[in-house]
């Protein structure tokens, strides 16, 4: 059993070996992403790719809460729904442009995240999971029954397309694809910025040992709430994008299944990773499509893949300890005692020694 996991690590190492040049890889990846619609040249495939993007955003945002801060949320579809409905209602009823409604929707979701997070994040583990699950159901019930605004079970249709300077972004002219790429890059950049900072470290410390984190002076509830609010913001953004792409939303899009789907992506991709979210989303979103030939059996296979994954690699595909060295910020001198370090460095070290 262990062998398979080892094999996996070996493959991962080999993959690392192929790409030693960071700059080149980045350029290659960027070109590939930008040229993708012309390469695949199919609306059906493009729509799947966009959905992978949407779920990547959702997984990135849940990843901050679950993967980094270690708080399990079973209700992330609620924020997705709040974003979608907010943006849809504003643009359908008041004719406001998507580029204004989307940020508003994201902020609305973030505020809901704050309101939910403040009282509940003092809970942990199963209690928090159940509370978020309940929240998700409450939101769905509101959407179903507040017919005046949400149009109840009939949903909202003819949601206007996003238009930029009088130019409609659609699936056919690839506009929606590039918009998705923009949102995805935005989310990724913000998440990376948070994770690689003292806030990210504080969140991980909370995940590892909450009492010890408290004893280091970390206000644990504050950081859990921050994670929750940022997460809700981006889920709301993903929701707004989804609403204007599909142009029809109803409460059934945002059920418990969606929450579980997002959580599965985070776990499959690897908790506490950023790259894993993309990989997880790519696998889980495309899986039902790839397995279409199996017809009704495909969800059996889908479930089995998840079970096998948990058996043989519980830390997720890209999760677990990394073999690479810790990335120090540029300008940090490791060899503090060596003779060839400059005078300035030694001076700096003297002040440092005074501190400790």
């Amino acid at each position: 059993m262990e062998k398979i996991s080892l094999q996996f690590d070996r493959i991962k190492e080999k993959m690392n070996f192929i790409k030693p040049n960071k700059k080149r890889d980045f350029l290659l990846l960027a070109t590939l992403i930008l040229a993708l619609p012309y390469i695949i040249n199919s609306q059906y495939l493009l729509r799947i790719v966009i959905m992978i993007g949407v779920y990547s955003i959702l997984a990135l945002s849940l990843g901050l809460v679950t993967g980094y801060a270690g708080q399990v949320s079973l209700g992330h579809a609620a924020f997705y729904a709040i974003g979608a409905y907010f943006s849809a209602v504003l643009s359908v009823n008041f004719g406001i442009s998507f580029f204004i409604t989307a940020p508003i929707a994201a902020i609305a979701a973030a505020i809901c995240g704050l309101l939910l997070g403040l009282p509940t994040l003092r809970l942990s583990g199963t209690y928090l999971a159940i509370t978020t699950l309940g929240f998700c159901e409450v939101v769905r019930m509101v959407l179903l029954n507040w017919e005046k605004v949400t149009n109840g079970p009939l949903g909202i249709n003819r949601i206007p397309r996003p238009s930029l300077l009088g130019f409609d972004l659609t699936l056919a002219n690839n506009g929606m694809y590039y918009l998705m790429v923009f949102f995805l890059v935005f989310t990724t950049v913000v998440m990376l910025a948070i994770v690689r900072s003292k806030i990210g470290r504080a969140m991980m410390a909370i995940r590892e040992d909450e009492l010890a984190a408290t004893m280091m002076g970390i206000k644990t509830t504050t950081y859990k709430v921050i994670a929750f609010v940022v997460s809700a913001f981006f889920s709301g953004l993903a929701g707004a994008f989804y609403a204007h792409m599909i142009r029809f939303i109803d409460p059934n899009t945002f059920t418990f299944d969606t929450s579980i789907m997002i959580l599965s992506i985070v776990i499959l991709g690897g908790m506490g990773t950023i790259k894993g979210m993309f990989l997880g989303a790519a696998i889980l979103v495309s899986f039902p499509e790839v397995l279409r030939f199996l017809q009704e059996y495909r969800f059996v296979v889908y479930g089995m893949v998840l079970v096998l994954m948990m058996r043989f690699r519980p830390q997720g595909i890209l999760g677990g300890q990394k073999k690479t060295a810790y990335k120090l910020p540029k300008g940090v001198i490791v060899d503090i005692n060596s003779n060839n370090s400059s005078i300035e460095v030694r001076e700096a070290m003297n002040t440092v020694e005074e501190v400790i």
Binding site: V190, A193, I194, S197, K198, I199, R201, A202, M204, A205, E208, D209, L211, A212, A213, T214, M215, M216, G217, I218, K219, I226, G272, Q321, A325, Y326, L328, P329, K330, G331, V332, I333, V334, I336, N337, A348, M349, V352, E353, V355, I356
Partner: protein, 258 residues
């Protein structure tokens, strides 16, 4: 003025009196040991000092200010940091990250700085990483800073916990059985290290069972049994104190006749 003054503190858990009117006086730059049999209430006392438990009665005064009503985070900021009896490192984080977490409260940049990677952010990150490396160097863990904490050998994990406590900018270090589970050589090294910390100006409060460590290192010793302070004084006095020997070994009539 006493540096840290603990006045008649008690902790009751329902009907159980875990700590009963214990008073301690700790001067700056001392190594003070708290010893006592298992279950005597030593760790409970630590938990009260660091704000984990609220006091049932009494007060704790640090540098002239009462700290017993503060939350743990504020107590850390005031200058008391601790280690744990059962190691509580951030297991799946790197060694250097563990130390950086300790510096969390004095890493000064806000959300805006980190989003836009401002100069303040970069300078702070470099400075803190540099300090972290220096701390790890002083404790002999610099070569292992890239490791994950959970992969370190036991002795190193204990030392990393101390490094993490130091990194909070603490003035007083509360070490809860730092030599537990160490072999004689390791505990000897630790002894030297704790002495060197005192020479750097730290005040150290130690809970320890290893009598060799306690007698060698302590400036003063407090003995607690069943939640009550039963003796205090210099190591030589404590070693010959009748009540202390009783608490540890039992009375003669109990142990022999049957």
């Amino acid at each position: 003025m006493t540096f840290l003054e603990v006045k008649d503190v008690s902790k009751h858990f329902g009907g159980l009196v875990a700590v009963d009117k214990v008073s301690l006086e700790i001067n700056e730059g001392e190594i003070v040991s708290i010893i006592g049999p298992n279950g005597a209430g030593k760790t409970t006392l630590f938990n009260m000092l660091t704000g984990v438990y609220a006091l049932t009665e009494g007060e704790i005064i640090f540098e002239g200010k009462p700290i017993h009503n503060l939350v743990p985070q504020e107590i850390v900021k005031a200058g008391l940091a601790r280690t744990f009896q059962n190691i509580r490192l951030f297991a799946d984080m790197r060694v250097i990250e563990n130390v950086l977490v300790g510096m969390h409260t004095n890493t000064e940049y806000n959300f805006f700085d980190l989003l836009f990677r401002t100069k303040r952010f970069r300078n702070q990150e470099i400075e803190k990483h540099q300090v972290a490396i220096a701390i790890l160097d002083s404790i002999g863990l610099k070569e292992k800073m890239h490791n994950y904490a959970t992969n370190l050998p036991y002795g190193d994990q204990r030392r990393l916990e101390i490094a993490r406590a130091i990194s909070t900018n603490a003035k007083i270090l509360l070490l809860d059985e730092p030599a537990a589970g160490m072999n004689p050589q390791e505990s000897e090294d630790l002894l030297c290290f704790i002495k060197s910390l005192r020479d750097k100006g730290y005040t150290i409060i130690l809970i320890e069972h290893d009598m060799n460590v306690v007698m060698n290192i302590s400036d003063r010793i407090y003995v607690i049994d069943h939640g009550k302070k039963i003796a205090e004084g210099l190591p030589v006095d404590i070693a010959s104190n009748k009540r202390v020997i009783e608490a540890y070994l039992g009375r003669s009539e109990q142990s022999c006749s049957q």
